[in-house]
């Protein structure tokens, strides 16, 4: 556990500070006893879970611009979720139920595992589409109406994720 911590000191510090911030938020007090107990337990946790949180070969990267882009992405994802829910409500509460469901098979060029998972989850949460399968670069999506399926090809959030990935590859 210690060689890993020494090889990636920044990642260890990052996890430790995240845990300590969570402890301070939960305990909601800065009495020195609280802080001492928190520091001790955060150190123990960080030391014991290095095999899960810190990779052997790769160092923990931290890119402020990437973080900013991800926050922007989550904001637009929230807007899309609200639009999606209103769309589903309109379709479901309409007495005639104007649906024309179907499957669309397309490709997805994302390669980083986190971004692939984010993309699949975003498709599920946004207007009229759910991810059925994402294997290699084959993406199968079920769409609730046919218009949605045609609009999925050039989607703003996908372009945002590709930007994040491009930054990751270059930097």
């Amino acid at each position: 556990m210690f060689p890993r911590m020494r090889s990636d000191l920044f990642g260890t510090l990052l996890i430790f500070s995240l845990l300590l911030a969570f402890w301070l938020l939960i305990s909601a007090s800065i009495h020195w006893q609280h802080v001492l107990v928190g520091v001790i337990f955060c150190l123990i946790l960080t030391a014991f879970w290095t095999n899960l949180t810190i990779a052997d070969d790769a160092k923990t990267g931290f890119n402020l611009k990437q973080l900013f882009m991800l926050i922007k992405y989550f904001f637009f994802l929230g807007v899309d979720i609200i639009i999606a829910n209103i769309g589903v409500a309109i379709i479901v509460l309409n007495p005639k139920m104007p649906i024309s469901p179907g499957i669309i098979i397309m490709r997805c060029d994302l390669e980083r595992s986190l971004l692939r998972a984010l993309y699949a989850n975003s498709i599920t949460l946004t207007p009229g589409t759910i991810t059925v399968e994402l294997e290699d670069n084959l993406l199968i999506v079920h769409a609730l109406t046919e218009d949605v399926a045609h609009g999925l090809e050039d989607w703003a959030l996908y372009r945002r994720l590709m930007e994040v990935e491009g930054l990751y590859k270059n930097g």
């Binding site: 938020l25 499957i103 980083r112 595992s113 599920t124």
Partner: protein, 133 residues
């Protein structure tokens, strides 16, 4: 007591009733829509926003940093778990060949838009980058 403090319960009430409405829409969709995949549309989306709005309303009512942290964690968990389970159900249904409702379309854009293949096979990508996400 300022006007903002007086308005907070009403804003919280708005959020809670909004969440209630979306959860109701989810249940109605679950009953009305024709097959597995379309039903997953209703459940996967409306549950996320409905529960999220309810939690925001509760946050406004509590106004306590400890409870707000816990409610935020619950909201984050629901927002990640819900699409994953939706995806799993849809994937299992698709791979088992569960029939879709009649008149479903199928668009295959994969071959049409193929430009280049992945340079390395997925196995090596998984081994190399499995845990850097």
């Amino acid at each position: 007591m300022t006007i903002v403090q007086q308005a907070i319960p009403y804003i919280a009430l708005f959020f809670i009733f909004g969440g209630f409405f979306f959860l109701l829409v989810g249940v109605v969709g679950l009953l009305r829509l024709p097959d597995v995949y379309t039903r997953m549309h209703a459940m996967g989306k409306c549950d996320t926003l409905g529960t999220g709005m309810m939690l925001i309303g509760l946050m406004l009512l509590f106004a306590n940093i400890t409870n707000i942290t816990k409610l935020l964690l619950i909201a984050a968990m629901i927002a990640t778990i819900n699409p994953v389970i939706t995806h799993l159900i849809a994937k299992t249904a698709y791979n088992r060949g569960t029939p879709m409702v009649e008149g479903s379309f199928l668009i295959n854009d994969y071959v049409a838009s193929r430009r280049h293949r992945r340079r390395q096979p997925l196995v090596t990508v998984r081994e190399k980058g499995g845990d850097n996400g």
